[in-house]
Symmetry: C2
């Protein structure tokens, strides 16, 4: 079996396990599955939960596609290959309770004819209200996962996430970050492809313990109209990031990807009020002071 089939197979299992764990954690919501095929080759399994007990809207998508490399991608990747293979799992969860954070995960593998191939991905957390103990718990888990492979991974990938998940026009990070990495190969990591696959799957497997714990901690916290309004505002910032900056989203829109799967990441309900103000010293204010690069959460 080709290595890429190993990767796709492992990613399918990651999708299955995450969906099972999330459905159990939610207790009410179910994932609706859509199988789709890509005209140029390959396809995917989109799984979406809406109006669950915890998850207001969330998706866990698997895809494995191949074919002729679109011109836009050749340009973006600065490569000359004719064919590509790409597989990955992508997750975004928008919870209903403003104290449960939004979470995003992606693990992916890319291959070009000629033999070039690499892994990319990451997990990051976007709390509507930053809760220090939750952010620390989240980053500790990620560090543990990274440290098992290379002690240099967490600090590098944490800094990458700070840089990547940044809403430049707001001068704020999307949330409390996490890890983000791309183009991991044997020659720039010293790890074999098999080990890199292990790392990628380990990142995938960190999702469930990370998120279910944060769900458990916060799902029953009471909230009022005020916290909901703030949640809708933070969601609008999330939508801004994804539509203006996110490379995966832009890439998908430019290459005629499956629109509903790509934009599954957008929030179920978002508000843009004009020039909203926060009261100094409030929890909302406190959150804004923490949406900065370079916060050390471990």
């Amino acid at each position: 079996m080709a290595f890429r089939d190993n990767v796709a197979g492992a990613y399918r299992v990651v999708q299955d396990e995450i969906c099972a764990a999330l459905a159990q954690a939610d207790g009410k919501g179910v994932f609706e599955e859509e199988l789709w095929e890509r005209e140029g080759g390959g396809g995917g399994r989109t799984r979406v939960m809406q109006l669950g007990d915890v998850i207001e809207k969330g998706g866990v998508n698997f895809s494995a596609v191949h074919g002729v490399l679109p011109e836009a991608v050749k340009k973006a990747f600065k490569v000359d290959s004719a064919h590509f293979f790409a597989t990955g799992v992508s997750i975004v969860m928008h919870p209903g309770n403003p104290f449960v954070p939004i979470i995003h995960m992606n693990i992916r593998y890319f291959e070009l004819d000629g033999g070039a191939c690499w892994f990319g991905g990451g997990i990051d957390l976007t709390p509507h209200y930053v809760i220090d103990t939750d952010a620390r718990y989240f980053h500790h888990l990620l560090k543990e996962t990274c440290d098992a492979f290379d002690l240099s991974f967490y600090p590098k990938f944490k800094a990458n996430a700070d840089d990547y998940f940044y809403i430049r026009h707001r001068e704020e990070t999307r949330g409390v970050g996490g890890i983000f990495y791309d183009r991991l190969k044997p020659d720039n990591t010293g790890l074999s492809l098999d080990h890199l696959l292990d790392f990628s799957v380990a990142v995938g497997n960190t999702f469930v313990p990370a998120y279910t714990e944060l769900i458990d901690r916060n799902r029953d916290r009471e909230f009022s109209e005020r916290e909901l309004e703030w949640q809708y505002l933070r969601r609008s910032r999330y939508a801004e990031f994804n539509l203006v900056y996110d490379a995966g989203t832009k890439f998908g829109l430019e290459t005629n990807g499956r629109i509903e799967s790509i934009l599954m990441s957008l929030p179920p309900l978002a508000k843009w009020s004009y020039n909203p103000q926060v009261v100094p010293g409030s929890e909302e204010f406190n959150t804004l002071t923490k949406l900065k690069k370079g916060v050390d959460w471990v």
Copy 2:
């Protein structure tokens, strides 16, 4: 007085008159004004109405800025000038009643050192529900305004609007279009700068009769949760267009413009549900069939 001061002066009056007429039409909402100054030179008057009787959120912004041309703009305009002057009026209105359409207008004048200068702008209509008689009324008014200056304007500028206000990844137009033009100069129109200013102001003056009529026709129409849901969905498409494609928005974000004035155009409340379906033959379905380029509304 320099010509550009004439333009800025005329645009200020356009802003004043539109605000007065809109406040009167709304009957309840008031425009809150913020004066701002641009670090590099010039400034503006941002006027926003929120939670009016008709207007849920809307802004009428005037600005006149000048200074050193940002590198990004030099590139975009393919010019080598060091200094620029720009003035304009920008409007977006998001009404509360789903039967009242969203409207957008922009008139602008741009000048570079060395003497290059031009006018740009347009008005376009984004009904949540396309009402043929309203769309025809709107386009007739625009045609009248255009025809008074040049019979070639309306057909050209109408086609421009179809092309420009297009959500490529959805394969639908943002609404029923209108007119859109750019780089109007004496040498490509045969009109003097003074006449082009007259045209620009005439476009600005078309806003009030166009929109107040559509408000009057629809403001008291009853609606239910269903129409509201559809409105929130259409607003999410509006947000997608503005954040992904709109040149003015991108330009503003890239050149560190005043964020709240730039993103004033975003809807007060928007919904992204996953893969929404419309019932064939319904009013929502009917609207989708009309969000196409090339519909002849006159």
